[in-house]
């Protein structure tokens, strides 16, 4: 009368298995293979001229860490590039999140309709190509028009000179003898990078902040906390993990910035993306070495990405 039955299978349809297999092939070819190829090529060897051949050599990595002439002499040129990659991205990510937090918080307190308008605005600027952003800031920061001109015309330059901060700016390489100068500087690079990711920062913080229970804030208010105290004692602690997670994600995103650095950074302080380009397509033409640099950038980014994933899991587990 009764019989042991297998566990419920949920009615699997064989057709979908085939779809998934096909999908797997497509994704493997388009999404995974490029990364794999970069990894394989990075062990290759450059031969006469611009060509290269398959090999299993570590010389590209050796060159990256200690230079070509090692062990006769060591060069940390590429480690410096990596360092600047991290510095720019780190500074810009933190600044963007710091400015985006109050912005997002204020936005989420508005009605849905106004939130939608803000989101359209932000998404539009977010999708704006790095190329345009750089173009805009390039005009804004250029010496002939834009901010330096505004500084001079409004007398800000004179004022800076009179209080003596102008010399400090000159020490930082942000001024000519006559006026302030923003191109090329760390300031311009970091400013434009934070501009690039500011909308991303808002979008990343938006879910966490918009889900904060208003009753919790009202409770804090009824216990006598002023609005600013509420933010400091309730909102900020609740948003600590999303804030860190957002900063990490933006950091990873900025590791790949190319146009900003090529236009705004001092040649001595450029990043890996520039040297990768030069090795693969540009002046130096050494594809395997370019691939090795890309692998190192990839590993750096991947490491931080995993850390941010961990963090968001943690945040979810807490929620």
């Amino acid at each position: 009368m009764t019989a042991a039955r297998p566990q419920a299978s949920g009615g699997r349809r064989p057709g979908f298995g085939a779809v998934q297999a096909l999908l797997g092939l497509v994704l493997a070819a388009l999404c995974v293979a490029p990364f794999a190829i970069v990894l394989v090529v990075s062990f290759g060897q450059v031969v006469e001229g611009a060509s290269w051949r398959w090999a299993l050599s570590l010389e590209n990595y050796l060159r990256f860490f200690v230079g070509l002439e090692w062990p006769a002499s060591t060069s940390f040129l590429y480690l410096q590039k990596l360092w600047w990659t991290l510095v720019y991205a780190g500074l810009a990510a933190v600044i963007a999140v710091a400015f985006a937090f109050p912005f997002t918080w204020l936005t989420t307190r508005q009605s849905r309709r106004i939130q939608t308008v803000w989101l359209v605005f932000l998404l539009s600027s977010l999708s704006l190509s790095e190329v345009f952003v750089v173009m805009g800031w390039d005009v804004l920061l250029s010496n002939r028009s834009g901010l330096p001109m505004v500084f001079r015309e409004t007398g800000l330059t004179d004022w800076l000179q009179s209080v003596g901060w102008f010399d400090t700016l000159r020490d930082w390489g942000m001024a000519t003898p006559r006026n302030v100068r923003f191109k090329t500087s760390v300031f311009a690079t970091v400013l434009t990078m934070s501009y690039l990711v500011f909308p991303y920062a808002v979008i990343l913080l938006y879910p966490a902040l918009s889900r904060l229970d208003p009753a919790m804030l009202e409770a804090a208010r009824t216990m006598g906390a002023r609005p600013f105290t509420v933010i400091r004692t309730v909102v900020l602690p609740a948003a600590r993990l999303p804030l860190t997670g957002a900063a990490l994600l933006l950091f990873v995103y900025l590791l790949g910035a190319y146009v900003v650095v090529s236009v705004f950074a001092d040649p001595a302080r450029q990043t890996l993306t520039i040297t990768i380009y030069e090795s693969v397509r540009g002046a130096t033409l050494n594809a395997p070495f370019g691939a090795a640099q890309a692998v190192i950038l990839l590993l750096t980014a991947g490491g931080f990405l995993l850390a941010s994933l961990r963090l968001s899991r943690l945040a979810e587990a807490k929620a």
Partner: protein, 370 residues
């Protein structure tokens, strides 16, 4: 079954009945939702699966619908094995807890969904939808969007939709839980009348004993994945099969004691006689249950009385609840509002427990032991 009546799994009854044979459900994680259930749902009757949340009643209903397949056992309809028949071939009309109406379709399109799938022509579908909306007293609502409807209207649409395919079995999963208290009572009566008019075999899952008693021909009381008792509402109420049922259906005062020559010897030394005599081994630990409305105030000590002091009194409309602290534990006695007795806080009183209304159970239910 722990009730003394013939088990519903016994091979008898109408051949059109829906039957479950030793149905069990273990989820992949190892959690046992349904332990072993044998049930018969008589054709044309309304059966309520009643129990606290997590007792397995919804899982059982979903297995009947074919949305979940049993880990073990057999489901039959009209003598035919339907255990392996998927939900879309069983086509038992089902009303879901939050109604699961499709927001992208109109009311009429929701109602006629099953017909559209079958390929019924559009004019015929429309006519049938109108007919069903009339049946659930929502004439002319066909063109509306689901978002425009109130909770009660949504429920009516969900019922109409489930009946559109003229199902052989009608299933409802906590159908009243999304409604407010007043509407709930009205809809219970309305649903029962509709079911009786259509004479359709119906299974309702609920955790509300009042709802079950209002609507059901038969109640299945469930706990911990088992059916504890099966019977008509009055029988389940008057003769609970065990301590769990006595406590879950209505209210009950419980007293601990031991069986002694057909009577019960309480821990305090008092004796309670029981009619008919309790059939227990002498010295076996037992639980005595007596409903508050069957507990009376006596003017003086006597047989089957407990002395105590009034700890709390509350007047709730038609009854007055007297909470009495006795040496055997707190007891509640419900007096009709018209009763002349008006004990006050702190008064010494005597409670009389009529022998014929006392129920005696083993001290531990199987459910509790597990």
């Amino acid at each position: 079954m722990s009730s003394g009546e013939p088990g519903p799994g016994a091979p008898q009854g109408d051949p059109a009945d829906l039957r479950l044979w030793d149905v069990r459900k273990t989820f992949p994680g190892g959690a046992v939702a349904v332990e072993s259930v044998d049930l018969r749902f008589p054709a044309g009757e309304l059966t309520a699966l009643l129990g606290p949340s997590g007792c397995g009643k919804t899982t059982l209903l979903r297995m009947i619908a074919g949305l979940e397949s049993p880990s073990f056992g057999r489901i039959e309809l009209g003598g035919e094995d339907i255990t392996d028949l998927p939900a879309h071939k069983r086509r038992f009309g089902m009303v879901f807890q939050n109604f699961a109406l499709f927001p992208h379709l109109t009311v009429a399109e929701n109602v006629a969904y099953s017909l559209a799938i079958e390929g019924v022509a559009k004019p015929k579908r429309r006519a049938r939808a109108e007919e069903l909306l009339d049946l659930v007293q929502l004439p002319g609502y066909g063109a509306r969007r689901i978002g425009e409807l109130s909770g009660g209207q949504r429920q009516r649409v969900a019922i109409a939709r489930a009946l559109a395919q003229e199902p052989s079995v009608f299933l409802l999963d906590e159908p009243m839980s999304a409604l407010d208290a007043k509407l709930r009572e009205e809809m219970q009566v309305e649903l029962r009348l509709l079911q009786q008019r259509l004479g359709i075999t119906t299974v309702v899952v609920t955790h509300d004993q009042r709802e079950a008693m209002t609507m059901a021909d038969r109640i299945v009381v469930m706990s911990n994945g088992r059916a504890e008792q099966v019977g008509p509402p009055q029988e389940v109420y008057q003769r609970p099969a065990n301590r769990f049922v006595a406590g879950f259906i209505g209210k009950a005062n419980f007293l601990s004691g031991t069986a002694d020559r057909g009577e019960v010897l309480l821990a305090t030394g008092a004796r309670l006689s029981v009619a008919p005599a309790a059939n227990f081994r002498d010295g076996a630990p037992v639980q005595v249950a007596c409903r508050p409305e069957w507990t009376f105030l006596a003017s003086e000590p006597g047989a089957n009385t407990l002395a105590g002091r009034v700890a709390f009194v509350r007047d709730i409309g038609q009854v007055r609840e007297i909470h009495v602290e006795t040496p055997a534990g707190p007891q509640v006695c419900e007096l009709p509002f018209s009763s002349p007795a008006r004990p006050r806080l702190g008064d010494a009183v005597h409670l009389f427990l009529p022998p014929e209304l006392i129920r005696v159970f083993p001290a531990q239910d199987r459910a509790e032991a597990a």
